[in-house]
Structures are given as C-alpha cells and as structure tokens.
C-alpha cells in the first residue's frame, strides 16, 4: 500500500495524443486480411455476369475444372442452401417488396458483376486464369436502369415480383402530431408568400475504401474462423449463422486491420458467404481478395436519389412548411440497411430550423444496377444537401444574404432542448456561435465585398460563396426507436474492462475500428476515468471471441455509444474495487475517495492504487467474504437519444465562366461536436469527411452505360480526388456538450461529408447565379458548369417563385434533369 501520492498525471481527455495504432501502420507491420496465409490455403476467383439482367441458361465448368492446380469450380446449384443468404435487416415497411438475395444465384442475374460461379485453386493467379475458362450461356433480359423509368415499372428488375417499387415510407408532421399540415402551408404561401420548388439529383457514388475487400475462412478448428475486411464482425457473424444454420457459437469472425470503410464495409457480402460455403465444403482454408475493378463494380454503392422539394415561406422569408418527395435507387437487391438509408435522412430535412410543418415521402425502387447502401453520412448528406440548397434558393428569392435567411429560421441557443417538427429532441447547440466563428475564419464579409467588385467588373473568373449549416442525428441508436422503425436489431454497445495482475488494463469494445483511432481515444478515456497511465491501457476489438458482444462501427456511434459503455464499465470496476480497498486499508468504504487511480482514506495519507488492488484481487489471499476476487466489469449501454453535432461550413470558389472550371479558394468550417477527446483525431475526421463531401460536389459519379455496364469501374474512370485536386482547410470548433452522455461528446465521423457537399455547390451556383443559373447537377464538372452558363436563360433560370412547378408539359424546368447535365 502506498503512502500519499499526488496525482500528477495530466488529464488525457482533450490531449493531442499521437495514435497508438500508427507504429505498426507506418512500418508495414500490418495485418490486413489479404496478408494472411494459412497452411494449405486455397484461393478463390469469382466468375461474374457481364450483363445487367439475364437468365443463366447453362454453366460449363469442365475446362476450368481440368486446369492444373484447380481444385474445384462451383455454381449456385452446387452450393445450394449451404450458401446462406444476404440479409436485409431493415424492412422499412411491413409490405416492403424484397427480392430473395442469394450470394450466388443459379437461375438469373440481376446486375452486372453478380457472381455465377467460383473457382477454387492453389494460387490466386491460377484461380483467375481458370475463371476465364468457365463458359456461361446467358439469355439477356431487358434491364431496369434509369431510376425514374424504373419507378414506372416499364421494365421489371425482378419480373417475378411484378413491380420495382420496394417500399413507400412517409412521415407527416400533422399525422404525427409534431407539426402542422404542410399542404395547407404551401397553399397559404402560394397566395402572397413564397413557394420554392426544386428537384435535385444525388448522383450514385462509390465508397472506394482503399483496402479492397478480402475474406479468409478457416474451417479446420472447432469454430469456423472468418477473417474479413469488414466494419461489422458481430453483425456478420449473426448473419452467417442466421442464414446457413451453422450455430453462432461455432463461428468466429475477426476484423483484423481494416483499411477504411465509410459505410462500404457495412455489409454482409456474397463473397463472404461464398467463401464460407466453399471452405466448409472443401475443408480447407480459403481466401478471396477482390480486385479494385471488382470492388468498384460490386461492393455496394451509395446515394442515388432524386429529391423533389417544395418549401413554403411567408413573404419575410420565414419558412412555413417543407415537403419532400424522394425516389431512392436500391439497385438490384435490398441491402443490409437498404431502404433504411433514405429513412435515416427523413428526420433531417428540417435540419437546424424551426419549420412548423413537414412531410417526407420516400419511394424505394429496385433496378438492375449494383445494390446501394450506407455511404458516409447515409441519408443525412442527402437531407442536408436538399435543405441547404433550398435555403440558398429562398435567400436568392428574397435577395438577401443566405446566412441572414438561415438565422431567421434556425433554433436559437436559448431554445434547447428543442423538439423538432420531425419529432426529435435536440439536446444542445449554438448555431449562431458556430456561424460567427466560421464567418471570421473565411473572411466572409471581405469575400462578399470582393465578389461584388468582381461581379460589377464582369470578371471572367467569378467568385462564389457557399453556405451550409447542418446538424445530423448520429450515435446510432436508441434500440426502442430502432424497434419502432422496424429495424432488425438494437443500437446498444458493449464494453468490458479487465484488470490484469500486473496492473495493466485491457479494454474490450464492441465497436470495430477501421481507421478511426479508437485504440488511442478509448485509451485516453479509460486513462482519465480509471486514473491509470495511457500507455497501460490496451484496447481490443474486432474479434468475436474476444469482443463477444457488439454492434460495430457506423453512424458516428463508436464514441458516443461505445465510449459511454466504456465509461460505465470503468465505473463498475471502481465500484467493485472499493470494498476491497476498504478491506485492505481497514477503513470504512464511506471514508474512501477515488482520485487519480487511488483510493485514499479521507484526512489521512493512507491509500491503495487500483493496480495494487488488481494484484490483490488476482492473488485473492485477502478479500472480503461478500465479494468475488475480481475487479473486471462489463457494461452494455443503450443510448437514450440520438446525438446531434452541428456546424457551419463556408466555401469560396472561383468559377471560370469561359471554361466552367471550378477551383476552391478557401474552405472554413466550425463544427460543434461537444467535448473533444483527441483534437488531432477529430481534425483528421473532419478533413477526410470534407474531401469526400467535396468530391461528391465536384468529381465523383458512378456512371452506367445504356446496357447497364458500370463505365466508371476503375480508378482511371472513377474520379477519386488526389493531393493536387484538394487544399488545406480552416477547421475550428465551438463546444456545446451533449447532455445525453457522460463525456458530453458528439459524433464527428460523418460531419464533414454531410456539411461540405451543399457548401460547395451553393458556392458554385452563387458564382454564376447572376448569369441566370439556379442549379448545376452534381458533380459540377467543368462541362456541366460550362453548359449551364451557355444555356443560362433558357434552361437554368428560376422563372419565378410561386408558379406551378413540375407540370408535365414543362419537363426539367426546375429540375436538374437536363439542365446543365
């Protein structure tokens, strides 16, 4: 037992700790799934459909089977029920139309890239060579490719279903009792107020994580071990067990080092299921690693929506109602979250504003394209884009500064907690403060003055300033709310703390990091709360035999849900240690105080450290009779509410009116994410998020040709930004601590992506609005910007405010379809 020891440790929370993860990553001492090599391991290659929609007439595997070092070639018919199924965890309506999704169908393919056969060989090269020798006869079927056309059921993506319409999901504030009647608000606004009606395109994107997906399955032990480049080892284990009949307890899933995900690895993939089935059948370890082309073509895509919106306001620019109609392209199957992605945006179109009436309608549609699912932000970037573009349109209609119009409509800091028209309770925030700071950082007023000068002078290169204020619901999610939304699982998270005999601490989390830096940030939290050195904390995750419970990483949930579970587990450790400390110190438990990792007897210099107590519990020679000899504890935390970070993002762009070239001059953002655990990691999350969001605005798009072939199926064609395309950012924070978790934290993983896309497009439109342009379809490529400028006055302009929009005889008038596209 130690005598008095002043706690000298600096507070860990808030420190710019360098990451624990980095040493192995910067020296190449990594454990990516594709690095694994097991004795006798066989390699898989997939035979994929070149057609978007076709009947499989026959598959001749003879030549491939006869090739040297080929072990077997298997089809869907060969694997049968053993292949399991790819699940949809979220039927958004009771009557959702959900096509069966076999990992390897044997009768019909529904998108180009779908697997029809798998080759098993001694090397990956030989497997690929033999895949070329598999002779598949297809009978092509008409393919449903265009989203709007598919919504009319002109061509069916799955003929047996009789429709492409999967589910219609609606929220109406009048029906829900959270607000007024939106149609009444619009009718009122048509008579003397302002009605803005627009249609925006959320183009199809590809998550494009840097590590291609890879899976290794070893069936040789009592448990079948699956290593996978996944964000969701726990959910994957559940899905494999639920669809193959193999007991969950016989499956171990490990997500080793995982090279990025952004939602793209939030999936139970056909390739994982096929590898699992093949390994079980052959009895040997197998590996499948996709090529980049396979990844871009068949790993799930994101976004892909048409958004029709009607915003009603009074003549002073106070919004009185918002109506949203979405068409969302699911692709060929309803993926694991699937139609839930647009629903995650349903509560966010009203954003930071006090709208009295709101209605959200979403129709999900099946097509013969790669299936879509979560991509960074999942639903919330779409919502933020929609409303922030509309608020700029309202400002233009009023002839006012877009920030002023937002201010008139947003929730004042004094009004929190605030229940929104979508029924969510925002706990805290200060939109004015974040906006003021962002304006200072950008030099907003100076740039507005420069913009006016250059506009007046008729400069060839025009300056535009884009505004985006945002909030998001993250920290997915309160389990009961998920239940009400018909989601198939809960949203809790689990953590446990193991106090080792030597005083070191093992922390186990159900969150599954793939680049976020959990090992560092979670160590900081535990070091502070438990009063142990940062270096003594080891964070373990991503292995279902170590972290036996968890719901993994997505939706900016790891810190605000997983971190809170950790706090509760640490608190239990301290509670468990207290009677042992009292026993050893021969003191009353009530007289003990826990400071800096040590129980001290108040008013004396007597005390005992948590490390000493861990050692004493391990030896178990002397402990109270009514306690177990262990300090270890675990906690499962179910969040009480979503979590609402917010921020103001401002972007200044230069648009060359002769070439259409857009270049970003300055980007400044002030995000309020509550208390910050590690400012360095937070900055990294913001920077990366910004570039992904900016990339949607300016560069990225998954493009299909008329026959349903992805023509942007390589990094030569899919424009991922490089160092040369991007710039350094001005990033700062205001702090409104969350009131719904102990640490006062808010999610940051998706914030940058959610906020930045509308900031950039608003800036581009702002630069050319004086030419009569009110929209340019994303990505705002030089060609599209140039075309919009050339066509200004005929196709791009807003002809007036309260006019009957979307009439059949004026196609494209206020839609981006065809306008500058």
């Amino acid at each position: 037992m130690t005598a008095v020891q002043e706690p000298t440790a600096e507070r860990e929370i808030g420190r710019e700790r360098r990451r624990k993860e980095d040493q192995r990553l910067i020296t190449g001492r990594t454990r990516w799934t594709d690095n694994l090599n097991l004795p006798g391991m066989l390699h898989l290659a997939m035979v994929r459909s070149p057609f978007a929609h076709a009947k499989i007439v026959s598959i001749d595997t003879t030549a491939a089977k006869n090739a040297t070092n080929v072990v077997d070639v298997l089809t869907g018919a060969d694997l049968g029920e053993a292949q399991g199924a790819c699940i949809n965890a979220w039927a958004i309506t009771e009557d959702q139309v959900t096509p069966p999704h076999l990992p390897m169908p044997s009768d019909r393919v529904a998108f180009a890239g779908e697997v029809v056969a798998v080759v098993v060989a001694r090397t990956a090269a030989e497997a690929r060579d033999a895949a070329e020798m598999v002779d598949v006869e297809y009978e092509q079927l008409p393919a449903a490719l265009d989203l709007k056309e598919a919504a009319t059921d002109a061509v069916l993506a799955h003929p047996d279903l009789g429709t492409n319409k999967s589910a219609f999901w609606k929220f109406d504030s009048a029906e829900a009792g959270t607000g007024g009647d939106v149609d009444a608000a619009i009718a009122t606004a048509r008579d003397g107020g302002i009605v803005i009606e627009r249609e925006y395109r959320q183009q199809r994107l590809i998550p494009a994580f840097m590590e291609p997906r890879s899976v290794v399955v070893d069936p040789t032990g009592e448990q079948i071990t699956v290593w996978s480049a996944t964000q969701i080892p726990h959910i994957l284990r559940f899905a494999i067990a639920a669809t193959t009949g193999v007991p969950e307890s016989k499956i171990r899933v490990i997500a080793p080092d995982v090279g990025g995900g952004f939602g793209g690895k939030l999936q139970q993939t056909p390739e994982e299921m096929i590898a699992f089935a093949v390994a079980r059948r052959i009895g040997k370890p197998v590996k499948f690693t996709e090529t980049r082309s396979e990844s871009l073509m068949t790993a799930h895509h994101g976004r892909d929506q048409w958004q029709k919106m009607t915003l009603a306001a009074d003549k002073d620019g106070k919004v009185t109602g918002l109506k949203v109609e979405l068409l969302a392209d699911l692709g060929a199957y309803v993926a694991i979250i699937g139609g839930g992605v647009p629903v995650l945006g349903a509560f966010m179109f009203n954003s930071i504003y006090k709208f009295p009436a709101y209605q959200f309608n979403c129709q999900t549609v099946l097509t013969n394209k790669t299936w879509t699912d979560a991509y960074r932000g999942a639903g919330r970037p779409e919502a933020t884009y929609g409303i922030e573009r509309m608020m700029d349109e309202l400002a233009a209609e009023l002839g006012e500064d877009p920030i002023e119009v937002r201010r008139r409509n947003w929730i004042d800091a004094s009004e929190f907690p605030f229940t929104t028209v979508a029924g969510l309770e925002y706990d805290s925030g200060d939109y004015e403060k974040a906006t003021q700071r962002a304006m200072e950082m950008l030099g907003y007023d100076e740039l507005r003055a420069e913009q006016k000068r250059r506009r007046d002078a008729g400069d060839r290169v025009q300056l535009g300033i884009g505004v985006s204020t945002f909030t998001e619901m993250c920290g997915l999610a309160p389990s009961r709310v998920l239940g009400q939304l018909n989601y198939g699982a809960g949203g809790w998270e689990h953590a446990s703390v193991r106090m080792l005999a030597t005083g070191k601490v093992e922390v186990i989390t159900g969150a599954s990091a793939h680049g976020q830096g959990h090992e560092t940030a979670f160590s900081q939290i535990v070091a502070d709360r438990l009063g142990v050195p940062f270096e003594d904390v080891e964070v373990l995750h991503g292995d279902t035999q170590i972290s036996h419970k968890g719901l993994d990483t997505y939706g900016s949930r790891s810190l605000v849900v997983g971190g809170e579970a950790l706090v509760k587990a640490v608190d239990k450790v301290i509670e468990k240690a207290k009677p042992l400390a009292a026993h050893l110190l021969e003191a009353n438990a009530e007289d003990l105080e826990y400071v800096g990792g040590r129980f001290g007897v108040r008013g004396t210099d007597q005390g005992v450290t948590i490390q000493e107590l861990a050692g004493a519990a391990f030896a178990a020679h002397n402990y109270p009779e009514d306690m177990e000899p262990s300090l270890d504890a675990e906690a499962t935390y179910d969040p009480v509410n979503f979590n609402y970070p917010h921020g103001t993002h401002l972007c200044a762009v230069e648009v060359d009116t002769e070439t259409g070239q857009v270049s970003i001059r300055k980007y400044a953002c002030c995000d309020d994410i509550g208390n910050i655990i590690n400012p360095l990691i937070v900055a990294g999350q913001v920077h990366g998020g910004l570039v992904q969001g900016i990339a949607q605005a300016l560069w990225e798009e998954a493009v299909y040709d008329d026959s349903g072939t992805l023509v942007s199926g390589s990094f030569t064609d899919y424009l991922l930004p490089t160092t040369a395309d991007t710039l350094s950012f001005e990033v700062d924070h205001t702090t409104s601590p969350s009131l719904t978790n102990t640490l006062g934290t808010k999610g940051v993983g998706e914030a940058g992506t959610i906020a930045s896309t509308p900031a950039v497009v608003n800036a581009v439109v702002d630069a050319v609005r004086h030419l009569g342009i009110n929209d340019i379809q994303m990505p705002c490529t030089p060609q599209r910007v140039w075309k919009a400028i050339q066509g200004a006055g005929s196709g791009g302009a807003t002809p007036g405010a309260a006019m009957p929009h979307f009439s059949e005889d004026q196609p494209g008038q206020d839609s981006t379809e065809g306008a500058g596209a």
């Binding site: 360098r18 990451r19 993860e21 980095d22 040493q23 192995r24 990553l25 910067i26 020296t27 190449g28 001492r29 990594t30 990516w32 594709d34 690095n35 090599n37 090269a125 494009a208 994580f209 840097m210 590590e211 291609p212 080092d257 995982v258 090279g259 990025g260 952004f262 090529t291 980049r292 082309s293 793939h514 680049g515 976020q516 830096g517 360095l680 990691i681 900055a683 990294g684 920077h687 990366g688 998020g689 910004l690 570039v691 992904q692 390589s714 990094f715 030569t716 991922l720 930004p721 490089t722 160092t723 040369a724 991007t726 350094s728 950012f729 940058g752």
Partner: protein
C-alpha cells in the same frame, strides 16, 4: 520460370518466378513483405510504391523479372536500427494516416519526393504525391507531414536523402 536475384530491404534474395509475376506479388507472396499492399489494378492508387534502385515505382507496374539485379526498398526497410525514418515519424506526428492502407506507398513516395526536392512548397508536395490516393485523411495532414519531415534541419534532411 525465370531466375532472379535482387536485394530487398538489404537482404540478398533469389527465386524462380513466372515472367508475368508483378514485383508487388513477388514481394508479398514470395518474400512475405506484406507491408507493401495492393490497392488497385490500374496503377492509379500508389499503395504499392517502393524504391527500385533509389527511385520510387509502383510495384504493381513492374515485373519481378525487371527487378533482377536491382535494389528494392520497401516500407519495411525504411527504419534503420530501430529508428524510424523522419518521414515515418512525421506521418505519426502530424496524424498523416487513419486506416493506414495507403500509408506505406504514401511514405515511400514522400521520401522520394524529398530526395528530389528537399524543401518543396505546398504545391510541389501536392503535385509530387498526386499519384498516391488516400480516402481517409483528405490529404491535409499528409501534406503537413511532408512539410514537417523536411523542416527538421540539416541532419534530418541528410537522412531523408539517404
């Protein structure tokens, strides 16, 4: 099969390889140098960047047989005697990596960049790293890491150019 002999991270190695085998496959599959990774199949991403006789190359774009008689340095051979290379240190210091998958290539390219230009401007850094993709960092801190690495004084600079 063709016989090749080369030096990889200071070690002399020799193997019979298929003429079509890529250098990156040779490094990963035959030598177990899994620190070097494959991120694409069109030589766009640069994740597999190594040094071939002191010049940075995308090792998916070089046949193993072309490396016969050459000296190859991978991310695993960059640290000397347990001391991180200043560029490795700078990436950690400046949080220039998140998932870390692009990092080996990004570091190898940064080392080559600084060898050619010991005090690059931000624009020169951005142009010099254009062939290496990262999806996590938004490049902001990668650029800062390279700036940090070359601002370490003459001693560090010598190491950078070594």
């Amino acid at each position: 099969m063709t016989r090749i002999s080369l030096t990889v991270d200071g070690a002399k190695v020799a193997d019979d390889v298929e003429p079509r085998m890529l250098l990156v496959q040779y490094l990963r599959e035959r030598l177990g140098k899994t620190g070097t990774v494959v991120g694409c199949d069109t030589s766009n991403c640069g994740a597999c960047t190594v040094h071939l006789d002191g010049t940075s190359v995308k090792s998916c774009n070089v046949l193993a047989v072309q490396a016969d008689g050459c000296e190859v340095t991978t991310i695993e051979g960059l640290a000397q005697d347990g001391e991180l290379h200043p560029v490795q240190e700078a990436f950690r210091e400046c949080h220039g990596l998140q998932c870390g998958f692009c990092t080996p290539g990004m570091i190898m390219q940064s080392v080559a960049l600084l060898k050619d230009n010991p005090s690059p401007s931000e624009e020169e850094i951005r142009l010099g790293l254009e062939g290496n993709l990262c999806r996590c960092t938004g490049y902001h801190n990668i650029v800062k890491a390279v700036q940090h690495a070359c601002g370490q004084g003459a001693g560090a600079q010598q190491e950078v150019t070594a």
